[in-house]
């Protein structure tokens, strides 16, 4: 017993009783110290894990926002989201958001449905009581009761103190200019989603995705700047409404584009609608005739035919075509309205607006060339712009010689007026076809989008012809002194029941200003204008669309910053001479 005591490190010092208990419990050859350590470690680990869980939860509670967000989350989904402002080119507001309260209910929180609906109908008599009761009694978690209430109503309902009824500020789209810019910017539905025009384009451009992600609830979005000038738009709108009333026309439309950038500076199609009351837009007579309608543009198309002829190099300004007899084609006979019954030169064909002459001109170049040229000018395919509404041109399925004959003077091919304006713009601006845009665009940017379709010399000759037509052709009534206007008139017989009507016409006037340094192209269109005492019974373009165009030019030119110049020489001296006597 004493021998082991000589080793001081041995655990033999423990009292014998403990050793006995230990050997009974664990067995004699187990290292109890190591085992104890392992167990303590295990216990430490378990506790550490527990505390770690508590700590993470604490951090989560501390960082996460207010917990009772469930109710707000439901409501927020339904709130009409914010849209960017739409401005005109000078920064005037065309469309903006205003916050208005909307009333909602949470049926599961409402204690007495009958009492609640009675109190609410007392404040808002216009609301349908039965429907209100039905909504409040439904099983849903969230119901709208009334969108866009006034602030007084909000105050009164707040005072009633009904549980389960609440308000949410919503963004309401407001169009301060009413009908003036309706077709351009379109409108939105009650949930502030664009359903037409630029508003719809905004949604297609990614705003809808932002809405879904719930990110577009605040008004911190960059405003959209359009190319339209509100002052010019108003002037055009005002003049067209007056013209429509004066000539008792079904419709009137006007379009002003910048020929150097392709921007649409003004676009009006009356009758139009108030975007604050989008229901009016459903009326089919109120469509935008400039993009959604297709029309036979009549003599306006002769500009394209003459440009094609001059650009081919085979025909010059001195070429002459026989217009002495009506052109017989199968059972059709082509007449001239201002018949001269003699051989006409190219400028004469243009200023007398000779159907026979232009038809012969197109025939001399052939069907394929004609088709190729019109395709190049973008007249045979649908024109796509920012506006979602667009119309496909009506192109004849079989293109025979007769089609070339009629299309040469603007019958038998229906295009959207905006499309025709883009092509004529290319004939004016030095031969560059620029896709039209409703957004602000710089000249450099426009050049990047442009394609050269005709030679610059052809463009110069076309401007000479346009100016000549105002000096001594069909468009003399649009010669606004000081702005050197050039223009082409167009009168096309409307197709009524599959036949060309003798009395119902669509008149148009396309003007370039100034003709020597083109900046703007104006199109005026009147649908079925009636004769008035002033027009001596005539309904051709020169008596209605042209004077309207002149009035519009006189009004908008100062707004556009065009400097009036007087005592300019006639077109053959000014435009043709600068072209080097060609």
């Amino acid at each position: 017993m004493h021998a082991p005591a000589a080793d001081p490190a041995a655990p033999a010092r423990e009292p014998w009783r403990r050793r006995l208990v230990g050997s009974l419990l664990y067995g004699s050859n187990v290292d109890r110290v190591a085992k104890t350590r392992a167990r303590i470690l295990l216990a430490v680990l378990i506790f550490a894990l527990g505390y770690a869980v508590i700590a993470t939860r604490l951090v989560m509670f501390a960082t996460a926002p207010e917990g009772h967000g469930s109710r707000r989350a439901i409501a927020q989904d339904a709130v009409a989201t914010a849209r960017p402002d739409i401005l005109d080119r000078n920064g005037e507001i065309l469309a903006t958001d205003v916050r208005t309260p909307s009333l909602f209910g949470e049926p599961h929180r409402i204690i007495d449905v009958d009492e609640a609906s009675e109190l609410l109908t007392a404040v808002m008599p216009e609301i349908d009581a039965a429907e209100l009761r039905g909504r409040l009694g439904s099983k849903r978690r969230f119901v709208w009761l009334k969108r866009e209430i006034t602030s007084q109503q909000r105050e009164q309902i707040h005072r009633l103190g009904i549980p389960g009824i609440g308000f949410l500020p919503e963004n309401k789209r407001v169009y301060p200019n009413g009908a003036e810019v309706s077709h351009l910017i379109g409108h939105v539905n009650i949930d502030n989603q664009g359903t037409a025009g630029i508003e719809k384009w905004l949604d297609a451009r990614g705003l809808a995705d932002l809405h879904l992600a719930g990110l577009a609830t605040d008004r911190l979005q960059k405003p959209v700047e359009l190319a339209v000038d509100l002052r010019v738009q108003h002037a055009l709108h005002d003049e067209l409404i007056a013209a429509r009333a004066k000539f008792k026309a079904i419709a009137a439309a006007g379009l002003l584009t910048d020929v150097r950038t392709g921007e649409v500076v003004a676009m009006v199609s009356v009758p139009d609608y108030d975007p604050n009351n989008p229901r009016e837009a459903l009326d089919p007579t109120r469509i935008n005739r400039l993009t959604t309608g297709v029309f036979e543009m009549g003599s306006t198309f002769k500009a394209l035919t003459v440009a094609m002829a001059l650009d081919s190099g085979k025909i010059t300004l001195k070429s002459a075509f026989d217009a002495s007899h009506p052109l017989q084609y199968g059972k059709f006979t082509i007449h001239d309205f201002h018949a001269q019954n003699r051989v006409l030169t190219v400028p004469e064909i243009f200023t007398y607006s000779s159907n026979i002459g232009t038809a012969r001109m197109a025939l001399s170049l052939g069907i394929e060339h004609h088709k190729w040229f019109l395709r190049k000018m973008g007249q045979l395919e649908r024109l796509r712009t920012e506006l979602p509404e667009s119309a496909e041109p009506l192109v004849p399925k079989r293109w025979a010689e007769l089609n070339t004959v009629t299309i040469a003077f603007g019958h038998g091919l229906s295009v959207a007026p905006l499309q025709a304006v883009a092509a004529i713009g290319a004939l004016m601006n030095g031969g560059r076809l620029i896709p039209p845009t409703f957004l602000k665009r710089s000249e450099a940017d426009a050049l990047a989008h442009a394609t050269q379709v005709v030679k610059p010399e052809t463009s110069e000759k076309m401007r000479y012809l346009m100016r000549l037509n105002v000096e001594k052709g069909t468009a003399t009534k649009a010669d606004v002194k000081g702005y050197y206007v050039g223009g082409k008139t167009g009168t096309s017989d409307k197709v009524i029941g599959g036949r060309y009507s003798k009395t119902k016409v669509l008149t148009s006037f396309t003007a370039v200003l100034p003709a020597d340094q083109p900046r703007y192209l104006l199109l005026i269109m009147l649908d079925e204008p009636q004769a008035t005492p002033d027009t001596h019974g005539f309904t051709t373009s020169g008596w209605n669309a042209v004077p309207v165009g002149g009035a519009v030019i006189g009004r908008i030119a100062p707004l556009l910053g065009l400097e009036p110049r007087f005592d300019l020489p006639p077109s053959d001296k000014l435009i043709l001479a600068s072209a080097g006597g060609r």
Partner: protein, 127 residues
Amino acid sequence: MMRVLNICLIGALVLAAADVYTIKFESARQAQHVAKLRLEIRRERDAVAALRAEWAKLDNPARIQALTRRHLQLRAADARQIDPLDNLPERPPDRVPVEEADPIGTVIVNPELLDHSPTGSVHGPTR
């Protein structure tokens, strides 16, 4: 020795806890303030938007035109009323010497000094 160290540590812990609490409290207060300011900014912005919308409505060209027609005798500007600065004639020589102390009085005394040349639009109608 160990005991002194422990007491020191406990003291430091309490102090640290107190400090963290005050920081937390302060930050919560600041966050509340920020939220309040945000709400105010938002309200102001909404008010600005509403006022701008109203201004745009009042500034609408059609409305201005209607008011002008009713209350003023203004006419639309004509191209003849616009002229570039280059066409401005040279300034005529001063009829009254510049150094004159009382130019108006001089003109009243000598009526032949008055300028009778007409002004107005280039080829405009005479009223």
